[in-house]
């Protein structure tokens, strides 16, 4: 195994293990910490794939922004009450069944598509500073969908603020 493979498998195992711990931890703050760990290892996998921009944005947006807000909210709400309320685990048989069906579907389709997924090795010029490429794609080729999406998010945000203020 090369150094590249070793780091990939280490990161993948860490990401999966911490993802499992996110949903099995009893303490919501511990869950949040493991979610941070998951996101961080995914960011490092991006970095390993030479997608530096994606890695940096993953850390800035998800860990620096969203996870901090998660932790903020967890601390603000009264956790003792939340823990005593009935969690959604009454449906565990249905959920388990649905998960099995999904797993079977994924296995089937991945098995069927195993030949299409073989990508040719990247050309030498394919690996170039991808920040500029993403910028071009977002602000020149796909400017309209990008702006529509940003407008949608803005409307959702303003709406949320408005609803929170009316209460």
């Amino acid at each position: 195994m090369t150094f590249y493979e070793v780091t990939f498998y280490v990161l993948a195992v860490v990401a999966l293990l911490s993802a499992i711990l996110v949903i099995t931890c009893r303490n919501p703050v511990h869950s949040a910490i493991f979610l941070v760990l998951t996101l961080l290892s995914v960011a490092l996998i991006f970095l390993q794939l030479q997608a530096e921009f994606m890695a940096a944005v993953q850390i800035i947006v998800y860990i620096g922004g969203i996870m901090v807000l998660f932790l903020f909210v967890i601390m603000l709400v009264n956790l003792d009450v939340a823990v005593r309320q009935a969690p959604y685990n009454r449906q565990r048989w249905i959920a388990g069944f649905a998960a099995l069906v999904l797993l079977a579907e994924f296995t089937l389709f991945i098995y069927q598509g195993r030949d299409w997924a073989k990508l040719p090795p990247a050309a030498a010029e394919a690996v170039q500073p991808n920040t500029e490429l993403i910028g071009r794609a977002l602000f020149q080729n796909y400017i309209l969908p990008f702006e529509v999406a940003s407008l949608l998010l803005l409307v959702a945000m303003v709406g949320a603020v408005l609803m929170a203020k009316q209460r």
Binding site: V29, E52, A56, I60, G64, V68
Partner: protein, 422 residues
Amino acid sequence: MTTLLEILDQPLVLALIRVLIVFTALSLIVAYLVYAERKILAHIQVRLGPMRVGPHGLLQPIADGLKLLLKEDIIPEGADRAVFWLAPAITVLASFTAFSLIPFADNFYVTDVNVGLLFVIAISSLGVLGIILGGWASNSHYPLLGALRSTAQLVSYEVALSFALISAILLAGTLSMNGIVKAQLQQGVWFAFMQPVAFFILFVAAIAETNRNPFDLPEAESELVAGFHTEYSGFRFSLFFLAEYAAMVLVSSIAVTLFLGGWLRPFPNVEWLGFLRFAPVVVFGAAGTWCFLRFFRFPTGREWFWQRLMLFALGAGAAAAALGLLYPPVLVASQGAFWFLAKVFLFLYAFIWFRGTFPRYRFDQLMRLGWHFMIPLAIVNVIFCGVGLVLSWELGWNRSLSLLLASGATLLVAAWLARERS
């Protein structure tokens, strides 16, 4: 000798050596930054400050560090031990790791990636996790409130900070930290003069990001004891302390790299100012002379023997450094690091100066300033900066003139915003 060169030739070894140098120098700077803060604050308040340990208290940081290491490490009852242990580690790691992307000199940086600035922001934004987790894990009211305040403040001012950085990126056309410095060399002007408003926003947001006075609400002594690290003691407390001062050095380094020309000397393109390259010699010579003068005016009793000896040794060391710097290759090699550190120290001095002179904001005032003034101003500044650049690219306007007009327009908006607020 050849084997040594072969070992040094491996890319990983060189990086490791640089990491070691940066880490050691940074720890030393942080330790003496605390000393400088105590000394400068004392002089602002017409006191002497630390004077006992070593001449003029120069060994005080070492004594303090030993004291903190030997103190009992208390974990409060009911604290979440794992998270309590983890929190200071996250903060320290975040603020020290970000230095691997700062170019200290033309050819001295740990790494230079093409999204360098984004990574610096990303890594330093991890530090807030340590603060919020530390406040929560302490299982105590003051730390929790301090952590909540701190997080709210950091998250809000991070937006303004990032927008201020964007205008520097627009001017430089690259995200690489070294590339930004080189762009300033090429254009022959520090970006602080092209984008004064962005520089101001960055400066204010940097003070808020590092929880410094007048925005030190998260650890306001009169309200919250000590904020998020109230329950921390001994070594863990010193970790938080280290991280806080390292973060100060970090934001100063970012501001210097983006807006004050990084490792460039002032007016790098003006030939006749070339004598400025002898500034390191002058600084070390002056320090050595001062040490010798103090040495002769020091009391001569037996109890002062070691302090006098240390002063003499310091003076001799500074004089030797000044003489060594006269050797041209050494002088050339030391230029970048000298100017970079000089600018960073200027920034740090301003931080300390502010702490000595400004009263503290109230929390709602702080948030209102952030959301109602700094962030809109930062957004407007980015828009006008873009407009100015497009004017110079497409219509062939003078670049400096169009950017100046953009800054003027931003200032008008700022005046309007300020009037709306009052």
